[in-house]
Symmetry: C2
Subunit: 432 residues, 2 copies
C-alpha cells in the first residue's frame, strides 16, 4: 500500500459539503437580499493584492504578522487579502471620477489571516463588508448601524439577542483630554492604556495611568464614563464635535425606535490608529457567547492613499461568517428545512429503454421541477435509499409493465403514499 | 505630494465594480438554477491546499509551473488552488463511508494559475465545476454532457452557437494500437505526437510519426478518423470497450435529440495522463471565437490518492467565467436590463425632520421594495442626478409643504411623470 495523502483541509480552513453549503447559501442569501433591498450594490475584487496595500493601511508589523504573503516570479510582493477595505479603497480611487457618491457598496469575499485557530476565529473566513463612501455626516453612520440591525432582524433576531454598542473616537479623544488635562502626546499614551482596560488586571491599569500622571479622581471620572448613556457622557465635554455627532446619532436612533437595539459604550475603541468617528460593535447577548460578533465605524480618506488631493470618507462594517453562524445557531434562528423543495428521483429498471426515463426527465425539468434519473443499475431498494439520503421528496417508477401501459408510479417519500398516474397527472400533481 | 499606491489590480486579476458584479451574479445565478434543478448539490472547499495534492494528480512539473505556492510559518507547502478536482476528490475521500453515491456535485470557486494573461486566460478566474462520482457507466457521461447543454440553452444558446465535440480515451488508445500495430510503449509515443497534431506544422507531424515507424498508409488511416462519425470510427476496432461506450453514448444522444448539439471528434484528447474514458469539449461556433470554451471527461479513481482500496470513478467538467462571458457577449445573450427592479430614492430637504424620511423608508422596505434615503444634503438636481446614475427607477420627494399636508411627490424616472400622492397611495402604486 502506497502512502496516501491526507483528507484533512489545511489548518484553520473548512470543507463545505452540500449540507453546510446549503446553510451558507441560505444565510448569505438573506444578507444579500436585505442589503440589495436597501440599495447597497455588490462588488468584488481579487484574492491577491500587493502587500504594500496592507502595510500602508495598518503598518508593516500587522501586515506581515497576520497576512499570508509571498513574492511572485516577477518579484512582486503579494498578499492573500486579510480584509477587504484596502481593496475597496483602491477600487474607489481607481474610478473616482466616474463614480456617483455617496456609494453604498457591499461584498462577501473570502479572506485569510494567519491566526491560531480558535472558537470564532479561523484562517479562512468569509466576511460581509458593507461600506458607504462619500458622506461625511452622521446619517451614513446611522445607515450602517441600521443596515446591520436590518440584517439581524431579517434572521428573526430581536433586541433580547443582540445589542449594538456605540461610541465615537473624536468624543473619546476629547473626553480623555478633558479629564487628563495634558497635551496630545500625553493623551495618546493614556489612550493606549485605556484601550487595554478590559484586558489587564485592574491594578496594572490604574498603575499605568498613575505613572502617566492621573490621580485617583481622574481615574474615577474615566471609570464613570463606562456606565453613562450618550447624553451623560456628551455633557462632560459639550464643545466636542464628537459629542455632537454622538448626540445626533442617538437622537435619531431614538426617534426611529432603533434605540432599543443600541447603547452607548465608552469601551468601544476598535484599534487606535484607524477609526476617526463613530465606532460600533454588535454584541451577542447569549451568556455563552457574550462578546462582540462584529463591528465597524468611520474611517477617513483611505482613498487618499491612492489619489492625490482626494478626500472620500468611509463608514462601514465587516460581519464574519463564523460568528454569524454561531449567533444563528445559539439563538435557534436556523430553519429546520433549508432549501426544501420538491425533488424527484426517476428510478430505473434495466429492461425499460433508458430514453423513456430521459424523456420524462425532460418534461419534469421543463415544468420547472427539480429532478434526476438514478445513475447506475441497482436494486429498487437501493435506489429508494439513495433518494431518501439525498433530499429527494418523490420517486417516479416506471417498470416494463407501467411502460407498456403508459403510466408511472409516483411515491411521496414523506407520506410513503404511492399512486399510479399518467405522466400528465403526475406533472399536474407535482407542480400544483 | 507623497508617493501614491497603484489603483491597478494585480496582473491577470480583475476588479468587479457593481455593474460587472451584476452581470456575474446573473450568469452564475442561471448556472446555479439549472444545476440545482437537475439535482446537483453545491459544495466548496478552501482556497489554500497542500501543494502535494496537485503534484500527486498532475506531476510535479505542472504543479510547480502553473501554481502559486509558498511555505507557511510551520513549514507546510501550500498552493492557491489552480483547479478544484483535487479538493473535491479529497472531500469525497474524507467522507467516503457516509456519502451516498452516485454524488452529483457542483461548485463555483475562484482559482489562480500563473499564466501569461491573454484573451480568455487570466491569473484569477472562476470555474463552474460539475462532477458525478460513483457511476462507472456511460449514463453519467451523458448526464454531464446534457447538463452542459442545459446550462447553455438556459442562456438562450442554440445549436448554431455551440457544438459539443466528443471522443473516448479508451477508444483512442485502441484505435492507435489497431492502426500502429505496435506495443504499449510505441503507442504511448505515437499518442504524444498525435496529441500535438493541430499545434505543429504538417511535415513535423508526419515526420515524427514516420520516425516512430508509421508508413503513409497508416498516417492516412489516422487522418481519416478526424472526419468520421462515431459509428464509422467505432467500426475500425469493434472489439474496443471504448468503441462500445462511444456507440452507447451517441445512440442515446440521438434518441434524446441532443445529437444536434454534438459530434464525434477524434482530435479531443485533453491531456494524456488524466482522462480515462469519455472526453468532450464545448466549442463556440462563432468564427471570431472558434475554439474550445470548456470541457471535461471521465477520470478514474482520484479518490484512491487518499484512501486505500477505494475505487470511485468520476466524470465532470469545468466551465470558466471568462470564456462563458465571451460566449454570451458574442452571441448577444446578455439581457439589456440585468436585475432591473423598482428602486426608490427618497430625496431629502434639510428643513424636513430626517425621521420623516426614515419612517417612510421603513414602510417601503417593509413592503418589500428596494429603497434608500439620499445620504447628505445636496440640491435637488444633484439628488435626481444621483438617482439616475445609480439605477433608481423612482424618487419620492417630501418638502416642508408636502410634509405639512401629509403627502409626497412620486416621480417615475423613466417617464419623468410626477404625481402627488398620500404615502398609502404611493405604496399601492409601487407594489402593484
Amino acid at each position: 500500500m502506497s502512502e496516501k495523502l491526507s483528507t484533512q483541509p489545511y489548518k484553520g480552513t473548512r470543507d463545505f459539503y452540500p449540507q453546510e453549503m446549503r446553510l451558507r447559501n441560505w444565510f448569505f442569501g438573506v444578507v444579500r437580499r436585505v442589503l440589495e433591498a436597501s440599495a447597497f450594490e455588490e462588488y468584488n475584487g481579487p484574492m491577491l493584492e500587493s502587500l504594500a496595500l496592507y502595510a500602508a493601511k495598518s503598518g508593516d508589523e500587522i501586515a506581515n504578522e497576520q497576512t499570508y504573503h509571498f513574492t511572485d516570479r516577477a518579484g512582486r510582493e503579494l498578499a492573500i487579502r486579510p480584509e477587504m477595505t484596502p481593496t475597496v479603497a483602491r477600487m474607489v480611487a481607481g474610478k473616482i471620477g466616474e463614480l456617483s457618491f455617496p456609494l453604498r457598496w457591499f461584498s462577501i469575499p473570502n479572506m485569510y489571516r494567519y491566526e491560531k485557530p480558535q472558537r470564532g476565529r479561523l484562517r479562512e473566513f468569509w466576511q460581509v463588508n458593507v461600506d458607504i463612501f462619500g458622506c461625511d455626516t452622521y446619517e451614513a453612520d446611522l445607515e450602517c448601524i441600521s443596515s446591520a440591525i436590518r440584517v439581524l432582524r431579517a434572521f428573526g433576531a430581536d433586541e433580547s439577542m443582540f445589542t449594538v454598542h456605540i461610541s465615537n473616537r473624536r468624543f473619546f479623544n476629547d473626553a480623555v483630554a478633558a479629564i487628563a488635562g495634558t497635551d496630545a502626546e500625553g493623551c495618546r499614551r493614556i489612550s493606549k492604556v485605556i484601550d487595554r482596560r478590559g484586558k489587564v488586571p485592574r491594578e496594572v491599569y490604574t498603575g499605568e495611568l498613575s505613572a502617566l500622571g492621573l490621580d485617583a479622581g481622574q481615574i474615577a471620572r474615566l471609570d464613570a464614563l463606562y456606565t453613562m448613556d450618550a447624553a451623560g457622557a456628551a455633557a462632560l465635554c459639550p464643545q466636542s464635535e464628537g459629542a455632537g455627532e454622538l448626540l445626533r446619532l442617538f437622537d435619531m436612533l431614538q426617534k426611529t425606535g432603533l434605540d432599543r437595539y443600541c447603547r452607548f459604550d465608552f469601551g468601544i475603541i476598535r484599534g487606535l490608529d484607524y477609526y476617526t468617528g463613530t465606532v460600533f460593535e454588535v454584541y451577542d447577548n447569549a451568556p455563552e457567547n457574550n462578546r462582540a460578533m462584529f463591528g465597524g465605524g468611520r474611517y477617513d480618506n483611505l482613498v487618499g492613499l491612492f489619489v492625490n488631493n482626494a478626500k472620500v470618507s468611509g463608514v462601514g462594517y465587516g460581519m464574519g461568517d463564523v460568528t454569524l453562524e454561531n449567533f444563528l445557531r445559539t439563538h435557534g434562528l436556523i430553519p429546520g428545512s433549508l432549501g426544501a423543495c420538491r425533488r424527484v428521483l426517476i428510478t430505473r429498471f434495466d429492461d425499460v429503454p433508458y430514453q423513456t426515463y430521459l424523456a420524462l426527465l425532460d418534461r419534469l425539468l421543463g415544468a420547472g421541477l427539480s429532478a434526476s434519473v438514478y445513475l447506475g443499475s441497482k436494486k429498487m431498494g437501493k435506489q429508494l435509499d439513495y433518494a431518501l439520503k439525498n433530499g429527494y421528496t418523490h420517486t417516479v417508477t416506471i417498470g416494463s409493465d407501467e411502460a407498456a401501459r403508459g403510466v408511472l408510479r409516483l411515491k411521496n417519500l414523506a407520506t410513503r403514499e404511492e399512486t399510479e398516474l399518467t405522466p400528465d397527472e403526475a406533472l399536474r400533481l407535482l407542480t400544483e
